[in-house]
């Protein structure tokens, strides 16, 4: 560890920690000072723009403008010549194994399996945990993977999926079970194209279930207790109560969590990058984009993949906006 670097960089950190709020505070104070000099009528219409201007600048500079730039890049060759749809064509040739098709297929696996299983486990755990007195402890334990990075999560699961030849002792947890309990040959979980995508998705599900559990559990607690009590008095069984009372009332929350999970599934990157680097038929769009950009030096192709990703997200985006406006209308 290079201590000199550590010492030279800490002052930078202090300057930033003290300087940023100071500069922003001074900006707002200065803005207010100027606004007060304005005629009464103008104050109300100038002040808001001073307050939102830094935010709008950053969002425009780092999200909106670059997104538009990426659209342009996706129609250009490496040298900057306009080549129409060629980049897209290259990504979408030779269905089902050429171009980006494997990545698109895998993103679909992620979309369906990851979303459904995370919702299922989240709901199951929320309902079960709601009935035990040590709820907060078990919830914390399930939620803990949310705090760690997907990289660390990938390391944890690489170890779970570890493969040793059949004659060696199995040190990976899953293969130890496969060999010693089921008396089968050990599986190469991460390189066998029949199972590796599901192995990656399982690892991701493990990491994110706490997220859906916590939100669904909050929704569950929002269901009035007398409603459930009334159903019980009427003689409804626990399963009927879940199907007819609890589940319908939780549906809006399930939908919100579901759309968030769909976005996570489409953006899946870290776990794939760490565990297989997208090899052995496990590529996903986000990883393909990274590879095209850094390994193939193909910004046009990478941009095309990013736009394909955006197109996949757009239905969710529209749904989110409608949801938001519906909530606003009820305010």
């Amino acid at each position: 560890m290079d201590l000199s670097l550590l010492l030279t960089d800490v002052p930078t950190l202090v300057v930033v920690i003290v300087g940023v709020p100071a500069v922003l505070g001074a900006y707002i104070l200065g803005g207010e000072f100027l606004v007060r000099r304005l005629p009464d009528r103008a104050r109300g219409s100038v002040r808001p723009w001073i307050w939102v201007a830094p935010a709008l600048f950053f969002v425009t500079a780092f999200l909106v403008a670059p997104a538009i730039g990426t659209v342009f890049t996706s129609f250009q060759s490496h040298g900057g010549d306009w080549i129409g749809l060629t980049n897209y064509q290259r990504q979408l040739v030779d269905f089902p194994n050429g171009g980006a098709w494997i990545a698109i297929r895998n993103n679909l696996y992620w979309l369906v399996l990851y979303t459904l299983f995370v919702l299922f486990f989240g709901l199951l755990l929320a309902v079960l945990f709601d009935r035990v007195p040590y709820e907060s402890v078990v919830k914390s334990l399930i939620f803990m993977p949310m705090a760690i990075s997907a990289v660390a999560l990938g390391v944890i699961w690489k170890f779970m999926f570890w493969y040793q030849p059949a004659d060696a002792p199995q040190t990976g947890t899953l293969n130890a079970i496969v060999v010693n309990v089921f008396h089968q040959a050990p599986k190469t979980w991460l390189t066998d194209p029949n199972v590796n995508n599901f192995a990656l998705i399982a690892a991701a599900i493990w990491g994110i279930t706490g997220f859906s559990m916590v939100i669904l559990s909050a929704a569950l607690k929002g269901i009035p207790a007398d409603l459930l009590e009334a159903a019980r008095v009427d003689g409804a069984g626990e399963i009927t109560i879940f199907r007819r009372v609890i589940f319908p009332l939780m549906m809006p929350t399930v939908v919100v969590v579901g759309t968030t999970l769909v976005i996570f599934a489409l953006k899946a990157f870290d776990i794939v990058y760490v565990m297989t680097a997208g090899n052995f038929g496990t590529d996903v769009l986000a990883n393909r984009m990274y590879k095209l950009l850094y390994q193939a030096d193909n910004p046009g192709g990478a941009s095309a993949v990013a736009i394909i990703l955006l197109l996949a997200v757009i239905p969710v985006l529209i749904f989110n906006l409608r949801q938001f406006r519906a909530v606003e209308a009820r305010r």
Partner: protein
């Protein structure tokens, strides 16, 4: 157990040792077995790696981690010592702090001002701009990398010249939509009488913001800070794009990912490295879990 949970479990009124009482107890037992076994199963992957990280190199390669749970106990710290000496985990830990602290602070500060304007000031286009921010929550960051990189390179805002400034600014842009969304929703929920009575008393916008809104919003801001901190600390993609894997600048996630790809059989070091990378998030999480959960709830359950 809260009163509500007690009501839900249904306090038993059946007589002791009657068949109904026995059936109820059995159901309860099944529930506890299900809850505890699910939780234990959920812990296995992480527990396996944690135990392995304290085992000798030769043991890790010869037997599963579960064998270490039986005597003779043979644990060691050598993996941690070795990984801290041989790889640049210490430097990476420092880099992670250097990236994360400003990249949390800057967007949260900027978002607080903007969110207040969105919540309590009137200006043309306000609702549309806010709607656009909600839309941006879903847009993949991938869409922005290439043009931003081009600009960074052309103006010399690269790690070699400016250190982490580029990645701070990028994280600011990426973190703002969520930060503004979360804070504006919170600010809006504050009772409007507060503002009106303050205005009657002649307090200016600044006074209202700094003296009333900010102090009342500490819980929301705390949630946001924790959320953003963990998000950036755990981020791999943005760090790979704007910082890269050079040893002197790589944060923990990048270093760990590089170790994963290069070590292969050297799994003993990787186990320790993974846990070193988890220490800070786990401490933050365990000590401030309440706020973190609140942030997740505020960000996801809309309205």
């Amino acid at each position: 157990m809260t009163a509500e949970a007690a009501a839900r479990v249904g306090v038993s009124h059946t007589a002791r040792f009657s068949p109904a009482w026995v059936a109820e107890r059995l159901q309860g037992a099944v529930l506890h077995v299900a809850v505890i076994s699910l939780t234990v199963a959920w812990m296995v992957p992480a527990a396996g790696l944690l135990i392995s990280s304290f085992r000798h190199f030769t043991d890790i390669n010869q037997s599963g981690w579960w064998t270490a749970l039986a005597p003779p106990y043979n644990f060691t710290l050598e993996n941690y010592v070795q990984v801290l000496q041989s790889s640049n985990m210490g430097q990476s830990l420092f880099n992670s702090f250097m990236i994360t602290i400003p990249a949390t602070l800057i967007p949260v500060t900027i978002a607080a001002f903007a969110a207040y304007a969105f919540a309590w000031m009137k200006f043309p286009g306000r609702d549309w701009i806010f709607l656009a921010l909600v839309g941006l929550l879903a847009v993949p960051l991938q869409l922005s990398f290439i043009p931003v990189l081009k600009v960074f390179v052309s103006i010399g805002l690269v790690v070699q010249n400016w250190g982490f400034v580029g990645v701070w600014l990028a994280h600011t842009g990426y973190g703002l939509p969520f930060s503004i969304y979360l804070l504006a929703n919170f600010f809006r929920a504050l009772p409007s009488d507060l503002f009106e009575s303050a205005e009657i008393d002649g307090a200016g916008t600044l006074t209202v913001f700094f003296r009333i809104v900010l102090p009342l919003s500490v819980p929301a801001i705390a949630s946001l800070v924790i959320f953003q901190f963990l998000w950036i600390w755990n981020d791999l993609l943005v760090a790979l794009i704007y910082v890269g894997g050079t040893k002197s600048v790589a944060p923990l996630t990048v270093t760990l990912a590089n170790l994963t790809n290069s070590l292969g059989q050297g799994y003993n070091l990787l186990t320790a490295a993974a846990f070193i990378s988890m220490i800070i998030p786990l401490v933050v999480f365990l000590s401030l879990q309440r706020y973190f959960v609140r942030g997740i709830l505020a960000g996801s359950v809309k309205g």
